[in-house]
Symmetry: none
Subunit: 215 residues, 4 copies
């Protein structure tokens, strides 16, 4: 093994990754501020403190910057929603845990959600004129499947019921979305916990609960 042979390429790769991340971070900010069409490559380059040409050394075209960004952040969001080793076992507690993680991520990436919304990422269908790639579509589908699997868990355990699992998954998504947006609408980042709890509570019991436990 030649350590030098390894080290140099590695350094080179690290440098590449540094640039790539700087560009994506800059793009996140600029896309969120001005939208995809309003953002110029020049703006992104300036924010990343590099030259325009450098952006093109890392991405073939403007579209690719967007889709790479969506890819990376959507994956992050999805990771929060997935069940983890230490998660509680009971359905409601488990759901709360996952929601808290998701809302915390949302707080960390407010800019991303503005972009995702413009691109119709969580609209269940791409927005008109959106730049969604097949890869992005896969991730959205993965997101949808994750919601569906949560619903399926609940149906299996008897914690929830309903005729159409797809409808329930959509309902969960819509409820989440309502509180995600309420969270974004507040100027300042805040604790995500209350939104997570409200989401779970309303998803499970709706607005018309009578004589049920106080929360």
């Amino acid at each position: 093994m030649n350590p030098d042979g390894d080290r140099l390429p590695r350094r080179r790769d690290e440098a590449r990754a540094l640039f790539r991340n700087a560009i994506l971070d800059a793009a996140e900010a600029v896309f969120a501020e001005r939208g995809f069409h309003g953002a110029r490559i020049q703006d992104i380059a300036e924010r990343a403190r590099i030259a325009v040409g450098t952006v093109y050394n890392h991405f073939e075209q403007k579209d690719d910057v967007l889709s790479a960004l969506l890819e990376e952040r959507t994956e992050g969001l999805l990771a929060q929603l997935r069940a983890r080793a230490g998660d509680p076992k009971g359905f409601e507690a488990r759901l709360e845990t996952r929601m808290k993680r998701l809302f915390a991520y949302v707080e960390q990436h407010r800019a991303f959600l503005a972009i995702a919304s413009e691109q119709g990422l969580f609209a269940g269908a791409a927005a008109p004129g959106a730049r969604v790639t097949p890869r992005n579509a896969q991730q959205i589908e993965a997101f949808r499947r994750e919601l569906r699997s949560i619903v399926d868990e609940g149906l299996a355990s008897g914690d929830i019921e309903g005729l159409d699992a797809e409808d329930l998954a959509r309902f969960l998504g819509g409820t989440m979305r309502a509180f995600v947006l309420s969270s974004l609408a507040q100027r300042e980042a805040a604790t995500a916990s209350p939104q997570a709890l409200a989401t779970v509570d309303l998803f499970l019991h709706g607005a018309a609960r009578r004589r049920r436990r106080a929360r």
Copy 2:
């Protein structure tokens, strides 16, 4: 009263309205297909079978075409949501009636909702780079207020309960949105009724209802 004196101006106004509507209809289709930025004035003009310059005889700039469209359609949507004279009195039946109207309108204006979504009209906040005017913002606010007033009715009658009326209004909006999107996701227009019922049912009772009425 001189009927002749009336006729000419009236005809002229009718002609103006005809053009205006033709432009808005064309714009609705084109914006929905390609997004605001992807749509060229020329595309809209061609679709309306008029000349480019004619568009500018009716709207100062491209932005104004969009905001007039949003204005007109949002008003239409809002009109469905508002209570009407013959509506039932009981909270749930009343809500169902309003939802059915709204979902029917949605079926009639699928293209509009794609645009509205791109512009963040129902995101609770304008999308980045969106072309929302103060007038549009007022309508969104009116929409929000309408949801809120529905919730207030329910709280007053005791049909629903909860600590935060704002949260409930958002929840209602999110639930609606989930089924609106599910409705749009289907390629073909369909009867809106099931979505309206699902919306009301889940809004009221959530996913976890036990021992409650059969559907």
Copy 3:
């Protein structure tokens, strides 16, 4: 003779002339304010309180409005410069009389001179991009000839001298122009007489006169 047969056509012609003049007056004001290219037919029509189409019933194209205007006003200016029956006989007094008339006309048509200047009418050559027609060129030439004939009169009477009559004509034109502009530069219209006298005096005696009559 059928007086009716005469009267109607005459009335019709008078009406035509009325429109034509209204258009030219409006054009004079608008061209002077915004320049030829900056002036829209619409602006001229509005100022004349008529419809756009009406302008085209009287002039084939925009260029024609300008050249008709230049023609009419240049002819007016030229008329002031020409000798008249009652004019004095002595060279200097005669020149003063003509200059006074000319400067008085200038005061009455300040707007026109701004346009003439833009079009290079008194530049001795058309300005680049100018809309000068052959007819206008003839009038400019007539203007030049008139100056030349004044010089020739003076040379013949021995009141002025010089090797080149063309040079003297140009000199007279330049001197006039200097005081015409000084007259226009003042915001308010004023008596033209002093400029006329200064023009004649300096044209005849230059700046270096010694031991000559006080004025």
Copy 4:
């Protein structure tokens, strides 16, 4: 001192200046041929053998090309008019020297003067619809001041006399202008000297000189 550190920036600046000058030269020719409005950015770019976009890398808008051109050339013209170290001392000889320089410059930049004339640069006031910037206005004012200072010199030395120095300055300007235009009116560039001499002679002695030195 590191010559290398200097060279690159210097080269870059030189390249910038090269483009800028090429654009201004092209613009001078095109504006002179077709006037400001008749000149398309594309024409200028083609004449400079560059792309349209490149023009916009050097000037924000079309207007700026014009005003930069006027600025640069007016400064050049003014430089000829200013007194220089080696100039003669006597008033008349000194004035002749300055006039010769000025007429020589005029011969070199015939196109510019056509533009200046269209813009009213030497009209004492901006032409209607002209694109004159405050900077241009300053230069015109500087030009006027220079003429005035020449007159003041002459008044002080007793070489010229008159009640109003402003009038004399205008008279000098008008006389100059007459011969500048006569110079431009000739198709071919020629020696400027005769015009300079005629200007000085007529300015000083007018057309009516009797019994004075032969020239």
